[in-house]
Subunit: 91 residues, 2 copies
DNA sequence: TAGATAATTAGATAAACATCTAAATAAAGG
DNA sequence: CCTTTATTTAGATGTTTATCTAATTATCTA
């Protein structure tokens, strides 16, 4: 898990929207692309970025590729955040 | 709070290291810069990025500027993460 | 196997980013 | 005030990123 890749992936609003869609249900690349005002190759690139960061998973089903959330990476990042935002720096 | 600005700020390893330093104690810009193999203006720019994202605060004290963590923004981001990585998408 | 559909890869371009050096601003102290 | 110290701002440069169109790959079906 690379924190840099994860945060870079989350730094784009389109990619965060994709994550929010996938929270509700698994979706094909085409169905995801339909939700955005953007060409399919751009969405494909965003999906690739999310997958490289480990935030989503893909599985081919015939002609389609179905994407789904991988929540375990979120857990890791939350750990880091809880650690740095913890209250153990009392004066 | 802009999630985009926060995630962009966290996407750089130097900036995350700065956050980890500030978790331990408040520090001046110069003291922070000393910890890195990078020129002061670059660190100053990173501090500015972190501050714009709301992740750190600064206060002048004489010639020095003292930086400190602002943990409230981390809470907000963790909320978003808990939400998208939650388990309410049962089949 | 030819045509249609789904998706990715390649290549181009403009915008954003990280870093540096040099210059500017702010405060302290003789 | 003038010099030194701390820090930021400006300007330049190379790298990465987001997006597009065009081309390619993979699969299904008639």
């Amino acid at each position: 898990m690379s924190a840099t890749l994860v945060f870079k992936a989350l730094a784009d609003p389109t990619r965060r929207s994709i994550i929010e869609l996938l929270k509700k249900q698994d979706m094909t690349a085409g169905d995801i692309a339909e939700q955005f005002n953007m060409k399919k190759p751009s969405i494909s690139h965003h999906l690739s970025t999310l997958q490289t960061a480990g935030l989503i998973l893909s599985e081919r089903s015939g002609q389609h590729i179905i994407y789904s959330l991988n929540t375990t990476v979120f857990q890791d990042i939350m750990m880091w955040m809880m650690n740095v935002s913890g209250k153990e720096n009392e004066k």
